[in-house]
């Protein structure tokens, strides 16, 4: 490998609103820098999980190193660091940004600036990154690059008149982007002779080599054999290998010095020891202080995960352990439900993170899961002065022991075209939002700022937002803190038996409405049985709503001939298959998806 001086290195990332073309541009950059042939290209190189590809989002940040021969005749090293595109992973985004010196801002030429665009730009500017815009999708018939360029200048306040106008999809004007990277993004700084100080921005578990740590060297030099220490976790290792990344490949090298981006391996068993945001230093010659910004990620959303087939409990545990090797933000501990048997209470960064883990368990580990309604973490202050962090509604203490409760509150920014402002304000009010303000970005678009309880937005807020704005609203939030609130536990009784897995915490003013809708929803979800089934919602033992699933009275194939036996069997098989996806509670069979019903109470 040729030696490169710091001036020839560019460490950058791409920031964008979802679907504005970040991953596609990353692919084009990799293609145009020529380290990969077209044949090696998968459709999207950076997103290497199937799930990501299907959802069109990037879950885990990764990096790729390519070589670009610029128009000045010089070769430049590009370290392109990918960032997750969802608010659940905000902290990971911030650490990835901290590893960069600049950022390409991709804006869709038809849609213009969206909430995430703004949130990500502000985050990048907070990290002192040099940001330059690129206007993508100019091939779309509805593209308005001039308008969008003006918008970028007005709203964000960065130069956009000379922004490359590209179509990442069609490979149009990609060269302009590469030249802009060379010109506009500053070369890294730092002293290779100084004590080692490197920022971890990602890590990944490899069954053969242990954890592979992704980092950016800020100061000093790291090489094979360097005795390192993770400053926050205190873990120490001797480096086995350092190197740089191709697309999906690792290239070992001698050493990585200040300004470089790469990986190390050191027979590390668990990603828990290599937390994103931690600082790697040399334990023999340590740096004075860790890099700023490290925080231990905490779970924002919890839910119960149970194997549909109780016998698969050990398999679920193994699968969660394996996923955790790669995902330090996944939390789990065993719990027991009367309705669902043995399972796990799991903590996630947000609802998307939850869904991703759930899908990976089902797909990669072939597990059939029952998921209970997600809950945020409530703080319960008891009369005896004790404070409990409640992650499972079932564990709520008796109301007579409770002094008061608190719930997490977020500050949200919602960007929406002005015609839908009214509808979105109504939605936020329904969700107990506190209006903070509104700013017009241009004549037709505004940013609404609200404080919202987290438990009002984790379920279906995003869907409601989209449906009430015909898809035009975008949304971003960050945790503000805890506030006192009137909360009650809502219990559901099916055939007069309380189903613990269906209990949830709700704002007392909404208890009646939620209980009523929950009963209606369950009435639709629970199939008719041979007997009548009452479904009741109760708060503190008092019934506040009731529905009834009528007994089945007819389920027969009246007309049947000899030739129909095959058809008849198929029909019965379908029926039996449906039963398998049920949970027996008392003598009632409840479909697995009913346990998530609370999520869908706002369907209109």
């Amino acid at each position: 490998m040729a030696e490169y001086s710091q001036e020839k290195i560019r460490n950058f990332c791409i920031i964008a609103h979802i679907d504005h073309g970040k991953s596609t541009l990353a692919d084009r950059i990799i293609e145009h820098t020529g380290l990969l042939t077209s044949r090696e290209m998968q459709s999207q190189v950076l997103d290497n999980m199937d799930l990501e590809r299907e959802r069109g989002i990037t879950i885990k940040s990764q990096a790729v190193r390519t070589v670009y021969r610029a128009k000045d005749g010089e070769e430049y090293i590009f370290n392109l660091i990918d960032t997750p595109g969802h608010v659940d992973f905000n902290y990971e985004v911030s650490r990835s940004l901290a590893a960069c010196d600049g950022a390409i801002l991709v804006v869709d030429a038809a849609q213009g600036i969206e909430a995430q665009t703004l949130a990500n730009v502000y985050l990048a500017l907070d990290h002192d990154l040099e940001v330059f815009p690129v206007i993508n999708k100019i091939d779309l018939p509805s593209a308005e690059p001039d308008r969008v360029a003006a918008e970028i200048e007005d709203v964000i306040g960065i130069e956009a008149h000379d922004a490359p106008r590209i179509s990442a999809k069609n490979g149009l004007n990609i060269e302009d982007v590469l030249e802009a990277v060379v010109e506009k993004i500053p070369a890294p700084q730092g002293d290779p002779e100084a004590p080692l100080q490197a920022l971890i921005f990602d890590s990944l578990y490899d069954p053969y080599r242990g954890v592979i740590v992704f980092f950016r060297v800020k100061e000093g030099t790291i090489r094979k054999g360097t005795p390192v220490k993770m400053m926050a976790t205190g873990a120490t290792y001797d480096v086995v290998e350092v190197g740089t990344f191709g697309a999906g490949q690792f290239f070992p090298c001698e050493e990585l010095s200040a300004g470089m981006v790469g990986y190390l391996t050191a027979s590390i068993k668990n990603v828990k020891d290599t937390r994103v945001g931690d600082t790697i230093t040399n334990r023999v010659n340590p740096c004075a202080a860790p890099l700023p910004g490290y925080k231990k990620v905490t779970s924002m959303v919890y839910c119960g995960l149970y194997p549909a087939d109780g016998a698969k409990y050990p398999e679920l545990r193994d699968a969660l352990e394996k996923l955790q090797l790669n995902d330090a933000s996944l939390f789990f501990e065993p719990e027991t439900s009367i309705a669902l048997g043995f399972g796990f209470r799991c903590g996630f960064l947000g609802l998307l993170h939850l869904e991703i883990i759930q899908e990976r368990l089902e797909r990669e580990y072939n597990l059939d899961l029952v998921t209970t309604a997600p809950s945020v973490v409530y703080r319960i202050h008891k009369l005896n002065g004790e404070m409990i962090e409640l992650t499972n509604p079932t564990n709520m203490p008796d109301p007579t022991e409770i002094d008061y409760m608190e719930e997490p509150i977020v500050t949200a920014e919602i960007m929406v075209t002005t015609e839908f402002v009214g509808a979105i304000m109504t939605l936020c009010q329904e969700r107990r939002g506190v209006y903070l303000g509104m700013e017009y970005m241009e004549a037709t678009r505004a940013v609404l700022r609200y404080e919202l309880p987290l438990n009002e937005i984790i379920y279906d807020f995003f869907d409601a937002l989209k449906s009430r704005s015909r898809g035009y609203a975008s949304f971003d939030y960050e945790l503000k803190g805890y506030e006192r609130s009137e909360l009650v536990k809502l219990d559901i009784l099916i055939n007069r038996e309380e189903v613990d897995a269906l209990s949830f915490i709700v704002f007392s003013g909404n208890a009646y409405e939620r209980g009523r809708r929950m009963c209606e929803k369950l009435k639709d979800e629970i199939p008719r049985h041979l007997f009548e089934i009452p479904i009741q919602a109760a708060v503190g033992g008092k019934i506040i709503a009731r529905e009834t699933v009528k007994a089945v009275r007819k389920d027969v194939l009246a007309k049947c001939y000899g030739g129909d036996i095959t058809r008849k069997k198929k029909l019965l098989e379908k029926q039996k298959e449906g039963k398998k996806r049920m949970r027996q509670v008392g003598n009632v069979e409840i479909p697995q998806k009913a346990f998530m019903s609370v999520l869908k109470l706002d369907e209109e």
Binding site: V552, K554, D555, K559, G562, L572, Q575, K576
Partner: protein, 378 residues
């Protein structure tokens, strides 16, 4: 062995019908008859030695064929197969398509049971179903069949029809039973996907266009009471007969007797194999007969499952002794606790002392799919 012969033609497709049947030109029908006879002769070479206990000519509307066409079909059957002296030979006929000439020809050819597709005695209901005949035309055909010497007649009826009330259904039942046919089939209308009725009445109970669940259940339960009063016993989920006049062909299906299906799309179950004929008319007419589709060899497990979910269609139920004889294990071993649970749920009962039968109760019949599905093994 039983024979089933399919005639896939009708004067007009009814709005609820999802059977393999459609109107065709006289020429196509003639080609079909010729091909069918060829198939019958070919099958006779393979299975002709086996005694045939029943024959059922179904459709469609078999009576749409000319008298000499049916005679030719029957002729080939008699020449190709060993038909028992006492065989039950049924043919479906629709009012408005039979004449004295046809009926006499059927009788002469050996057909000894006629099954009339009436469905309702209410002309407005018949019209909504898309039937081509009135009740009066049925009466005429029925009397004609009696006059031609048919002493074993079935009438098909349907409840839960659009526009039907409990009263009109009772009226249909009493009027038809009053004619004294030997057998009555009473089905509850099923709205099948792919029919005009599905588009109109769909899955959501037809927006009040169909009788509601309460009315539908009442019709269904009244059927048994009214017919019993008039001398008919229910012997299968949807079939009622005077003593000794149960349809033997139908019972054969539910008791595992082998059957050979001939004609378009007909199903067979023979020597442990289940298969069906080509169901594409063009291909059926063009190809050599004897093609088999979806052929499967039933496993021991299939047979055990079918023993129950098919056999339980009969009011008499299934013999537990025979299960053990056939499979070498008691049903209790294959389905531990299941029979008992069904009895506890009120869906089934046992009867008989030495030969113990397991049968569904009236309630069990109402929701038979629920119980039958539990006999499928994992």
């Amino acid at each position: 062995m039983e024979l089933y012969i399919h005639i896939p033609f009708c004067a007009r497709k009814c709005a609820y019908c999802d059977f393999l049947s459609f109107p065709q030109t006289k020429e196509t029908m003639q080609n079909y008859v010729e091909k069918l006879i060829k198939e019958i002769r070919r099958a006779g070479k393979e299975y002709g030695e086996r005694p045939v206990s029943t024959i059922f000519i179904g459709g469609g509307t078999p009576s749409i064929l000319e008298a000499d066409q049916m005679t030719a079909i029957m002729q080939s059957v008699k020449e190709s197969f060993s038909i028992e002296e006492t065989a039950e030979i049924s043919m479906e006929a629709n009012p408005g398509t039979v004449t004295e000439e046809k009926l006499l020809a059927y009788k002469k050819s050996g057909i000894n049971r006629i099954s009339f597709g009436l469905q309702s005695a209410d002309n407005r209901e018949l019209q909504l179903l898309g039937r081509i005949h009135t009740y009066e035309e049925f009466l005429e055909s029925y009397q004609l069949a009696r006059a031609c010497g048919f002493d074993n007649i079935n009438v098909d009826l349907m409840s839960a029809l659009p526009g039907q009330t409990v009263e009109s259904w009772e009226d249909t039942l009493t009027r038809v039973a009053g004619l004294d046919p030997e057998h009555i089939s009473a089905y509850s209308l099923i709205i099948e996907e792919g029919t005009p009725f599905f588009d109109k009445y769909g899955e959501e109970r037809g927006n009040g266009l169909l009788p509601d669940e309460d009315a539908e259940r009442e019709m269904y339960h009244r059927t048994k009471a009214i017919l019993r009063e008039m001398g008919y016993e229910r012997y299968e989920i949807s079939n009622y007969a005077k003593a000794g006049k149960e349809c033997r062909h139908n019972i054969g299906y539910w008791t595992g007797i082998p059957y050979l299906g001939l004609g378009l799309g007909a199903s067979s179950y023979i020597d442990g194999y289940r298969f069906c004929n080509n169901s594409d008319l063009k291909a059926y007419l063009a190809n050599e007969p004897g093609e088999r589709f979806d052929e499967v060899l039933l496993t021991e497990q299939d047979l055990q499952e079918e023993y129950f979910f098919v056999g339980l269609r009969l009011v008499k139920g299934v013999s537990l002794n025979r299960f053990e004889e056939l499979f070498g294990v008691p049903a209790e071993t294959v389905y531990p606790g299941l029979l008992e649970k069904m009895i506890r749920d009120g869906g089934a009962e046992l009867h008989g002392k030495e030969d113990v039968f397991f049968h569904l109760t009236d309630f069990g019949m109402d929701v038979s799919n629920y119980f039958m599905s539990q006999f499928l093994q994992d």
